[in-house]
Symmetry: C3
Subunit: 340 residues, 3 copies
């Protein structure tokens, strides 16, 4: 059941196929910043950037997305170690089908420039950057300027070499300003920034600390923020990455929370331990029964369409266009994701 | 219990009676666009516009509101059949206490003009139009222009002949822009458009497909959108029509979901099968116990008021002004709805 | 568990200690309107302003916050009695550690000027005023002008004598405009108004009546409004006061709802009966186990930090910076609240 969501979520990210959702309506129309291709990011997996032992295990993780971290996972006196270690790993590691990403420190930390100045000198650049604690459109302006300065030695980046940028929503102010921040992100791309805004991560624990909430098992206290964020992400055709499941030993609870997030429209989930990866990636993938259901329903619908009657029933349910759409998404996604 | 909601909801729609909520605050003050009278729309019932057999059953449905559909319920190659069939039905059918409405295709479909050009030539015009997938204020501008063109042969419509317009919120962008869309809807009316914005429908299945969510039995994944929409509707004094219950055979689940929607402030619910109508209309109606409670409480309050003490208890609960208000709404609504 | 929330919530209100959340980002930077010190308001306790018997009991209530009411708790023909009674009580009562507050009538009632003109002549002025049913920034402008007129005889108030202002969110329009209202509140302070915006109360029953919802035991129908409001409050560093538990005899249900609100980030709760006070104040206070957990975790983290590894585990959980932050908040709050 859960996998239905990801399918449709994924499809949303390939929206240009669907004429009813024009890019103009979504506030970004520049050809220069169109999505290039869909990158699955079901398990967004953190690895501390200065922990060589853990970094060396990346090739065995089989994760969609690897985040080599300069931020919370790295102590202040190890930041510089992390930056240089990441540069080395980008060159030496075999990432296979995993996407190598780098999380820099937030603009408010004052450390972003140092992070970028080292990482952008890497022989092998990461395709994707993650920026924590974004609170306002102005922070994206400042980040764009900093990134531009840090990649000056590369000359002007062609559009297919721009970095994917994934931002974090982790404060009340960040949520309040998120629509404006996303609008600015798309506009900056059109105006020549070196990134394409591509996703939003729900930094749930910082968010809780910021609003004075406390995490409970069912995350009821985060319902508003969690569903509000996914709605904004989809309005701007962005990946939406769900909250961390902190108790990494309880894989049953992780599976339940992953399925729940997928059902809300999230396209992936943050992962802090290797054992979480297969659970999360499985939860964001359609079941064989669902794929069978979708395939059969589309066949039935096409037959019905030709007969000229609008509404029809399939296996006891009244089926309408949105349901047909969901079925199509499932089939398309299954082709795209393969066996992982 | 459930029916309490509808009562107060209904009352909201007759808001002018209450001085504390001025129209100016709500962003619309033009006398030309005031509500004319309250139209109950508990069961908003879809009938495919080209299905003569189903259309002929309308007089037996006893539904508050009938939507003769040109959109999802009608295959592409039957759209024109539907338009002309609806024109004939508007003239020939005996709608009784049911309100005859027409759902045209969305502006983004490119079919709206064709729909309106045929339907607006009807000898008997429908009082109410439904416009799907509205995503921005600009779409209302375009619709107003199209409607104006399609009714040109009727001359300038007096204010009591303007069409009620009910719009659909069914995408992330639509929800993001909904406040601005409603403001524009009220402004257009003041500026001479041929409609009065009168309601919002939660197009939950298109919304799910749009954000990549999947429907579950308790609709938890829609909590944010569902409650956000009803709040905006009430801020603009509009009808709020809740999601469809797709499994039309499970009337117990339908009843539960209807009661839940009524408790959230929804004033009605979309219905896709005749068997759903009495269940929905009953759920949006106050119970005899509730009416008795309300009547008694108002009596007790009035006695207490005369004695000069502000706070008082009634049947074990501390009662304040909002509770008195709710009780009054129940009594007023019961008078208005009659036996249906 | 519940008390964790209040701790962090409280801490948010002392935000200036944390460099990453600058006041500028939050839209208010004027030194003139900075918070002076943290005032606990766990139980915001209503007492009708004209009920001498209940007012005389205030010294025995041990409530953080006492609201002497001119609004809903006072019948129309007793408003003037209430105003003068409150003036006398402000002078004669021994409030002890309780904060004496006055709730005036809403701007839309037309009674605010009469309330303020009497209360502001008091020999002992209340530090804090509560303004119900605020629906727009313009209402704050009008209130600021009225307050200014009513305190004219006092001359220009120095910044440490400005009144704390707590506003009520209790309509759909009020929620829709709340971000703008809070921005205006902070701006008015910088522009010389005689108040500092300091909190928001969720007027849940008026809100329900306004949107046509009905209260259920678990308040599910208010999830959106309740969590939206707390997020806005925290974005502006304001106290967030949760809904009333109407059934004052059911203290178990009260405790459950209080804990739930604290977990969402609320810093206090409205109280309508003396028996509710200790239950509420306890729910918004950290448990000894939680304080022990927090103290130990901070110690472990500091040791770990010195060793240079970023991520670490404590008692079986992966601990990150937000968790450390929460722990610090608990310890700081425990020091601040004392034994009450």
């Amino acid at each position: 059941m859960a996998s239905l969501c990801l399918m449709t979520a994924l499809w949303v990210l390939r929206r240009p196929l669907l004429p009813i959702h024009s890019c103009a309506v979504r506030g970004f129309s520049s050809e220069a910043c169109e999505k290039r291709s869909y990158t699955p990011r079901r398990a967004l997996t953190y690895v501390p950037g200065n922990d060589e032992r853990k970094l060396m295990k990346i090739p065995s993780l089989n994760a969609d997305c690897i985040v080599m971290d300069c931020e919370d996972g790295v102590a202040l006196n190890r930041k510089d170690d992390a930056r240089h270690m990441i540069v080395r790993m980008l060159k030496e590691l075999e990432f296979g089908r995993s996407e190598p990403c780098v999380r820099v420190n937030s603009m408010s930390s004052g450390l972003t420039a140092d992070d970028l100045n080292v990482v952008m000198k890497a022989e092998t650049l990461p395709p994707t950057l993650l920026l924590p604690k974004v609170q306002s459109p102005q922070e994206l302006d400042a980040f764009a300027a900093q990134l531009n300065a840090s990649v000056g030695h590369l000359g002007s980046l062609p559009k297919d070499k721009k970095f994917n940028l994934i931002i974090y929503m982790e404060t009340a102010v960040g949520l309040m300003n998120l629509v404006e921040t996303c609008k600015r992100g798309h506009a900056l791309c059109s105006e020549g920034a070196d990134f394409v805004l591509d996703g939003i991560v729900f930094g749930s624990d910082d968010f809780c600390a910021d609003i004075g909430a406390s995490r409970t098992a069912d995350a009821k206290e985060l319902m508003y923020a969690r569903q509000h964020m996914v709605t904004i992400a989809k309005a701007f055709s962005l990946h939406a990455i769900d909250l961390v499941h902190i108790d990494y030993k309880d894989l049953d609870a992780l599976r339940k929370q992953s399925v729940e997030g997928a059902r809300m429209g999230y396209t992936g989930k943050q992962v802090i331990h290797p054992s979480q990866i297969p659970v999360v990636q499985d939860a964001f993938k359609p079941s064989p029964e669902r794929v069978e259901w979708a395939t059969e329903m589309i066949r039935a619908f096409e037959e019905h369409q030709n007969s000229g009657k609008g509404a029809f029933t399939f296996r006891g349910s009244m089926i309408d266009m949105p349901s047909v759409l969901q079925a199509r998404n499932i089939v398309e996604f299954t082709d795209a994701i393969g066996d992982s």
